[in-house]
């Protein structure tokens, strides 16, 4: 075996990448990883070394965050990825189509290139994302989801870092933009080796999620700043998906993935609307604390209820 070809730099980079792994993993596998790294980069140039270091660093982060293909969280994210991708498409296209008239008037008033980019970048990115998801091109899915996430983040940044900061306005922009930031992060976090192949089932899942995401976005009516939030909508849009995610405590990943995908779209809007309807945090706490307590109790009950079959299964196999 030989060491990497371009002097000390790869060793420094390799050490930095290995530092990203948890100490126990590094102790058990660090030397082995370094040996394989040395062999794979022995005949490669700087680009090969950089790719290997990046790959090692990314996997180190995954191990540290518990987001590998071997972890339950990783499997859950991979399962949810087609749903999240589809939901993002629906949640982008429905509001855009619903406000085409207003966009047209806006562009007639100011037809600068920047405005055209603002108007058309989200739907174009969403359509590219849809095509990539249908073809199972997950790198392209992640890239386009990141574009939408960055657009959302920039909109939120504009709202927050304005000269006259307004919490209400920031929350209002946040409820529309944060779902895309969250979706991009979840898609990037999904382990690549578990992401599904482009089968009819995957395509159906993406399309169904696009329809569902569009409907959820329309149901939230986020573009109307005047509507009073009906509390039953909160139950449907926030508590119901939250309860679905509790299925993870029983090892059931499909309902958890569905709940998580729905929460990505509805969570920010519901939280904002609850805060808005409560007229401040001081009014919100007396309502939120018992509700949170109740949810914790439900989670504990689900967890205990779910453990019994597993214990029984162990006894059966013993």
């Amino acid at each position: 075996m030989t060491m990497p070809v371009i002097g000390a730099a790869p060793s420094v980079a390799l050490r930095a990448a290995l530092q990203l792994y948890p100490e126990r993993y590094r102790r058990e596998r660090g030397e082995e990883l370094a040996e394989v790294f040395a062999d794979t980069t022995a005949a490669g140039g700087r680009a090969a070394v950089a790719r290997e270091v990046l790959g090692l660093a990314v996997y180190g982060l995954r191990v540290r965050l518990g987001l590998t293909g071997a972890s339950a969280a990783g499997r859950l994210l991979a399962l949810a990825a087609p749903m999240i991708a589809g939901a993002v498409v629906g949640a982008t296209m429905v509001p855009w189509l619903a406000t085409v008239d207003r966009t047209t008037r806006w562009l007639a008033w100011d037809d600068s290139l920047g405005n055209h980019v603002r108007a058309f970048a989200p739907p174009v990115a969403a359509l590219l994302l849809a095509v990539a998801a249908l073809l199972g091109r997950w790198t392209a899915v992640r890239a386009t989801a990141l574009v939408l996430g960055v657009i959302g983040l920039s909109q939120l940044g504009e709202a927050v870092f304005t000269s006259h900061f307004d919490l209400w306005w920031s929350g209002y922009i946040g409820m529309a933009s944060l779902p895309f930031v969250a979706a991009a992060l979840l898609l990037v976090a999904a382990p690549t080796d578990l992401l599904p192949r482009p089968t009819l089932r995957t395509a159906g899942l993406v399309l169904a999620a696009a329809v569902a995401g569009g409907l959820l976005e329309a149901a939230q009516n986020w573009d109307d700043t005047t509507f009073p939030l009906d509390r039953w909508w909160v139950v449907a849009m926030l508590v119901a998906p939250l309860l679905l995610t509790f299925a993870a405590l029983r090892g059931r990943t499909v309902p958890t993935a569905v709940g998580m995908t729905a929460l990505v779209l509805t969570g920010p809007g519901c939280v904002f609307n609850i805060w808005r309807e409560a007229h401040g945090v001081s009014n919100l706490l007396p309502m939120a604390v018992p509700a949170a307590g109740l949810l914790v109790l439900v989670a504990v009950a689900v967890h205990r209820y779910g453990r019994r079959p597993a214990v029984a299964a162990v006894h059966r196999t013993a």
Partner: protein, 122 residues
Amino acid sequence: MQEPTLLLLTALADAPRHGYALIQEVAAISDGRVKMRTGTLYGALDRLLGQGLIEVAAEEVVDGRARRTYALTGAGREALAAEAGRLRAVATEAERRLTKIRAMLPGNAGSQGRPASGGGLS
């Protein structure tokens, strides 16, 4: 089964191998199309270890360097055999249909003309 998983299990089918040998074997089996990076390899190895499809066969020091070799478990052999059988069935069916349509193409001996509507590659 994802292709990298299939390739790794295939690389381990005839003998236990260590990390770099696996990268080389996967490249050879895939005719150079799949080049696994170290991070990707260990992501897949950790997952397959967790699933019980492979195991650590030996941990040794060769020329002063740590080397861990991996091997298929019984479950891994069964999973690979099942996937190979599935792929074989698909390949056989693809060959059968291609042979049938080739025989029908104009210019071929024994051509039967155009396939009837609704028949052929359905």
